[in-house]
């Protein structure tokens, strides 16, 4: 199939890319842009390991065509840190050991960042519901919830927003 030319803003940089119609956004990010922080777990929308922020809202990049990203803005886990500095979610996940194998972690960090942008002080059930699209086979979730709560607390302490 003929490739399609698209222009997409990825982590703040405008990129011109040639993509095949059958490529997912996940494939474009990992194989073309080498942004391998975005993980492939299930490839069918169930695990959230491939979560990115697309025009301000989270999406499973395995269920988005690369061609759909033309003219849109994509933020991956690589774009969530402030340069070399981690964001509060990444910091809290490290402090709280909110991971074991770490495969699910980039997806959780992206989803948590989007969650806290919309709701800086979520209750526990709001956290669990907000992260229901991200699966973790290792941690049993409690340490992830703690990481989110601590990230929210440090945002409040700093009077900052994500």
């Amino acid at each position: 199939m003929a490739k399609i030319q698209i222009t997409t803003t990825v982590n703040g940089d405008e990129r011109e890319l040639l993509v095949e119609p059958g490529w997912t956004l996940l494939r474009m990010l990992r194989d073309e842009l080498l942004l391998t922080g975005t993980k492939e777990g299930c490839s069918n929308g169930n695990c959230g390991a491939c979560t990115v922020i697309l025009d301000g809202r989270t999406a499973d990049s395995c269920l988005v065509l690369a061609a759909e990203a033309d003219g849109r803005e994509v933020t991956t886990v690589e774009g969530i840190a402030f340069g070399a500095e981690l964001n509060v979610v990444q910091d809290a996940f490290m402090q709280d050991a909110s991971m074991q194998c770490g495969f699910c972690t980039p997806g959780f960090i992206v989803s948590t960042t989007a969650l806290l942008r919309g709701n800086p002080a979520p209750a526990e059930d709001e956290i669990r519901l907000g992260l229901a699209g991200n699966l973790c086979r290792c941690t049993g979730y409690d340490k992830i919830v703690k990481g989110v709560q601590d990230a929210a607390a440090s945002l409040e302490k700093q009077g900052a927003r994500l």
Binding site: G45, G48, L63, L65, G133
Partner: protein, 287 residues
């Protein structure tokens, strides 16, 4: 994924031209069903036409005809809309159940309808709220009540080259309310073992039920209305007893199968319980 061409037109006419000119082409809304089907080889297509850049298919507003939901508008947008929360609570509840945040952000209500899974959550809510499907093709427009839209699992009255342009839901009167509930064995991210969408309208003075609509998911090859239960309610004064009587009649409209998610018998019991609960929610909401 197998090879296909991709187009993202900005005009409805262009989308209709592309779809009618390419047999086997598929419209794309949120892609949460279609991209998975293409990826897994359960569906093949020569052309995917993205609908999300077509302004009329992204409409979401209320006018004299009621609520208009464009054919590519996401569950998140619909669920967050103030008029939907206020006047179409059953639909807001159903939208909030589709997968999780990442899925709702992409999945269109119309995509849920066109994919036509018997378990689709928004469909019973939409039918209970008397939704109509406005269908467009190059030959013109047709208007189909949503309870006549489904012909089998994954099958609808849509022909090749047709687009579901919008869903229109009439404005409910003051003394009315709707509710949707489903049963799944987990808290979220699962497919309904059974789902029930209910709508009640009463005379504000006498509390006599003037209109009742109950629609069931996952208990027949297509979403179905519980007509016997509906007619039992209409003309009677709203009460706990009359709700229980109607709930006991609702399973008569279901013809469930037994599968890994639940036995037919269990599904019939779920229909009764969920019908009673949704009707009670409607009664509470009417006040």
């Amino acid at each position: 994924m197998a090879d296909f061409e991709f187009a993202a037109p900005v005009e409805l006419d262009e989308a209709l031209r592309l779809l009618s000119g390419t047999p086997g082409s598929r419209p794309l809304a949120g892609g949460t069903d279609l991209i998975d089907q293409l990826n897994a080889g359960r569906r093949t297509t020569g052309l995917v036409v993205d609908l999300k850049r077509i302004p009329v298919l992204m409409r979401l507003d209320v006018d004299g005809d009621g609520l208009h939901i464009g054919g590519a508008r996401s569950c998140t947008d619909v669920q967050q809309h103030s008029a939907v929360r206020a006047d179409y609570a059953g639909l807001a509840e159903a939208c909030g159940l589709i997968g999780a945040v990442q899925i709702q952000n992409r999945a269109a209500v119309a995509g849920n309808v066109c994919n036509a899974a018997p378990s689709a959550d928004t469909i019973p809510a939409l039918i209970s709220l008397s939704a109509h499907a406005i269908i467009r093709s190059q030959n013109g427009t047709r208007d189909v009540p949503l309870d006549e839209f489904f012909i089998g699992p994954g099958q609808t009255v849509l022909n090749d080259g047709e687009i579901l342009e919008e869903l229109v839901l009439p404005t409910p009167p003051d003394s009315s309310a709707s509710a949707y509930l489903r049963f799944i064995p987990r808290n979220e991210m699962d497919i309904a073992v059974a789902g029930v969408g209910s709508y009640l309208e009463v005379d504000p003075n006498s509390k006599v039920i003037t209109r009742a609509r109950i629609a069931l998911a996952s208990v027949a090859p297509t979403p179905v209305r519980a007509r016997e239960a509906e007619s039992h309610l209409e003309g009677k004064v709203l009460s706990d007893e009359v709700i229980d009587e109607a709930a006991a009649l609702a399973p008569n409209s279901a013809s469930p199968i037994s599968d890994v998610r639940g036995s037919a018998e269990f599904r019939l019991e779920l229909v009764k319980v969920l019908t009673a609960r949704t009707l009670r929610k409607c009664a509470e909401r009417i006040g």
